[in-house]
């Protein structure tokens, strides 16, 4: 009996040769323990070394190997062949991003958006090292811990139709991280982040499709973060309206 095989259709785009992306079919040995990333590595090592894709950790931590697998944004290291076998899978680069080559996307726009919300602790004043740790209770940590799980894999950007429909939209992961630092008791940077987060291209471009939270491989809930930021920003707006003289 012949060994079982698994078929993949991979979207190829070689800018020096292809006018438009085209699907290319590959057949690899079927292994129950393999994920789609293993199949791609098998292709690269044994069948076609011109195939380009990003990956690093192979354990859903680095966030590099996000791809559309049968139209769904997934980490390819997290997508087992056995969940698709005996059907074949279609592997495409993440939606809503320009394609650099094959499965590699251009992430520059995301990187700029991420930096724009200042996703780091902005302390009120510099704290000398000899002042010791900045203590935080487990209860305080709990308020934002889920958002710290974000690995910047951009699956939420691929799932969010607003990213394509309103390209200026800052997007789910960046806004979730803005919310995460705003909730952090060591942080005083909310006002700086609000310039972007509370603007039209911030939370108000979100139409609450909710797909971002559904596809997150780390169970972060960006949709919740964005809706909560909308409410907090609205409260800010009314406060400013009712007491323009005081902050």
């Amino acid at each position: 009996m012949s060994e079982p095989v698994f078929e993949l259709e991979v979207l190829r785009y070689r800018p020096e040769a292809d006018e438009d992306p085209v699907f290319q079919a590959y057949t690899v040995p079927y292994n129950e323990d393999w994920v789609v990333l293993d199949a791609l590595n098998h292709i690269k090592d044994n069948i076609d070394r011109t195939l380009s894709f990003r990956w690093s950790c192979h354990m859903a931590v680095c966030g590099s190997c996000g791809m559309m697998i049968n139209g769904e944004p997934k980490l390819s290291c997290h997508a087992f062949l056995r969940d698709y076998y005996p059907d074949k899978v279609r592997v495409e680069p993440l939606s809503n991003f320009p394609i650099e080559r094959d499965l590699v996307t251009v992430a520059d726009d995301f990187m700029e958006k991420l930096a724009s919300v200042k996703p780091y602790v902005i302390a009120k004043e510099d704290r000398p090292v000899n002042a010791g740790e900045h203590l935080q209770s487990p209860a305080e940590l709990k308020t934002f811990k889920q958002y710290t799980m974000c690995i910047n894999c951009m699956l939420c950007y691929a799932a969010c139709p607003q990213i394509s429909l309103a390209p200026e939209f800052v997007g789910p992961a960046a806004l979730a991280l803005a919310h995460r630092y705003n909730l952090d008791t060591r942080d005083s940077g909310r006002e700086q982040r609000q310039e972007i987060a509370a603007s039209n291209e911030g939370v108000w471009d979100c139409t609450f499709v909710g797909a971002c939270s559904q596809v997150c491989p780390k169970s972060v809930d960006p949709a919740a973060a964005i809706q909560q930021t909308k409410i907090a920003s609205t409260v800010d707006w009314y406060k400013a309206l009712l007491s323009p003289w005081g902050k």
């Binding site: 139209g71 709990k142 394509s164 909710g210 797909a211 809930d221 909560q228």
Partner: protein, 128 residues
């Protein structure tokens, strides 16, 4: 070598491609029926202010098959609007009790309880 990033266009009917996008679009569409129903109520209020004869004519117009069909359709979309938005409330309004987060289902159920109590109260008040 020159870079030549390729931008894929979003299909015009992107929201028909996946169930979650279709459900989202139907949820968004439901607000049109809510808005239309609010207009009907405003027109009714206007007729009420014009005296009993005008209001009776308005009520009579509501008996037409077209008006009944519209109301049935508006009811279906109003229910969909309510159920989908109630389902999303735990995301927008998470509740914390001390160190613990109130489960999302409790927040959603509380909305249904308030909805039922207010509806029953209004129906009772209308009978008195």
């Amino acid at each position: 070598m020159d870079r030549r990033p390729y931008i894929r266009e979003m299909p015009k009917l992107w929201w028909l491609g996946q169930r979650r996008y279709t459900v989202y679009m139907i949820r968004e569409l439901s607000c049109v029926f809510i808005g239309a129903y609010v207009l009907v109520i405003l027109v009714g209020l206007f007729h009420l202010s014009q005296g009993p004869a005008a209001y009776a004519a308005f009520l009579d117009a509501l008996q037409s098959p077209l008006a009944i069909a519209f109301h049935l359709l508006a009811l279906v979309f109003a229910l969909l609007h309510t159920v989908t938005w109630f389902g999303l409330t735990p995301k927008a309004m998470p509740l914390r009790l001390g160190e613990n987060t109130v489960p999302g289902t409790a927040i959603v159920m509380a909305h249904y309880v308030v909805w039922i109590v207010v509806s029953a109260g209004l129906l009772l008040a209308a009978r008195v």
